[in-house]
Symmetry: C2
């Protein structure tokens, strides 16, 4: 159960993530409870400012008035063309008129709710394929709360609270897959989720964890420089110096010893290069 | 909890997986307890026959004599150059001489054991990066049992037995990532794993499930035609016709209603196009 810091595997080198070569879009996970005007204005700017055509996808929500709510959130900033599309079933995700709306958009925004609704309703559909293609071609994509979790390939579906990593405290499933580099968690410090994010990374220390606080956004550029915007922080969990992992021998529910996991807490205004990963922000 | 077959989301169209455009290698998951000479001879042929230089990676195993055992398995077919490399720690996965062995190989074979050992020891290391690059450039990669599970991006780490899918009965983590198209399970019918594979697919119906029986191999060509070799079967779980999912409302441990999941059981000698997915094999 114990990991020995003196073992030969301590501090083995990890290959840096490769630099981006694509012209893909900005990726903007938001930690939920979005209130700062900075977040939406910056996202709208990325989508073309006055010329932005933003599609809001309300699939994650269980609330009947979700569409009305989010239209109201965007309205002060962008009265003309934030459009909530009625994408609520798997059949909707193949409808030509909804596909056309996304094909014509200059940006997409996923609302909050339950990220498993997004995965089960959109997974394997023409809409998911189109969203991936549009993002790869440069369209910015944002999501808040459940919508943030859904953006990545490995998505946290559910887990337990607490700052100590414990074996089997987190369940990841397949997300939209816009990025393979990050696992994203949200409501991060408010719901005490460091433990589950570290645990998710510990199973295979190839990805970075990004824990996004409420009313906070991680604006990730196409070349993987992250800009923190809002009133909270983004916590980066980096396994670069992780020693051999004790997760193999760990009994579910007991604390995990994981010497060498690196954690950066980055405040609004920070820029952080997620490829080079400098020791200081 | 119930799914209604009359809901609008029933039988929504699913986009076919895109055809392969790369010159990547053959992918060969083997279901464990490999005995048929056909499996190894075919794999050795793909790796260059008499000129093959095969590297065996024993990282998954807990057995001290694993290297000796697998050298003996290959020896009758390929005396000259099946080389077991001592890749047992994260530090090993950065050693120049071991990286050179894989750089010079014409094929790689992962032994059985525990797939979480593979993920925790190789994840994020130079060796994992090299293996992905060599496979992308055309090198065949095989794995048996745990070594088969590890090949894909979403890897089944552990789960429960039984043919009925039940919510939360399976845990997937990050694997080596040679393919994003398949989730692979092994010892498939022997350990009654249909339920856990179907459950893994149900969370996000974008991937196909491949359940590989013992002493059976799925030889998957670079253009995603699968050839079944050995004495058992390969079970393909295809969500193409999956109705809206009940997994959202399901209580962990209770049976999942998942109308429309398609299952093909393919016997040795079968060829199956995993891109076009014809209704008959």
């Amino acid at each position: 159960m114990e990991s020995n810091g003196d073992t030969p595997e301590a501090h083995a080198a990890i290959t840096p993530l490769p630099a981006s070569v694509s012209a893909r879009g900005w990726l903007v996970p938001i930690g939920g409870r979005m209130q700062s005007p900075d977040i939406l204005t910056r996202f709208i700017d990325l989508c073309g400012g006055c010329d932005a055509r933003i599609v809001i996808i309300p699939t994650a929500s269980n609330e009947a008035d979700c569409a009305v709510y989010y239209a109201g959130v965007f309205e002060p900033f962008h009265q003309q063309s934030a459009q909530v599309i009625p994408l609520l079933t798997r059949q909707d995700a193949a409808k030509p008129e909804l596909l056309q709306a996304v094909a014509d958009a200059t940006g997409v925004f996923f609302t909050g709710g339950n990220q498993l609704k997004l995965a089960t309703m959109l997974g394997g559909t023409p809409m998911a394929t189109l969203l991936r293609a549009r993002y790869a071609a440069g369209m910015p994509v944002a999501g808040t709360s459940a919508g943030a979790a859904f953006l990545s390939d490995h998505m946290i579906a559910f887990g337990e609270e607490g700052s100590a990593p414990r074996a089997a405290m987190v369940t990841t499933v397949v997300g939209l897959g816009l990025t393979e580099r990050y696992i994203i968690d949200q409501h991060f410090r408010e719901r005490d989720r460091l433990g589950r994010l570290v645990t998710a990374i510990a199973y295979n220390p190839v990805m970075l964890g990004l824990g996004v606080d409420e009313d906070t956004a991680a604006f990730i550029s196409p070349d993987d420089v992250m800009h923190v915007v809002g009133t909270g922080a983004v916590t980066v969990v980096d396994p670069v110096n992780l020693d051999g992992s004790a997760i193999l021998e760990a009994v579910p529910g007991t604390p995990l010893e994981l010497p060498g996991m690196t954690v950066h807490v980055l405040e609004p205004g920070s820029e952080y290069d997620l490829t080079q990963r400098p020791a200081t922000a």
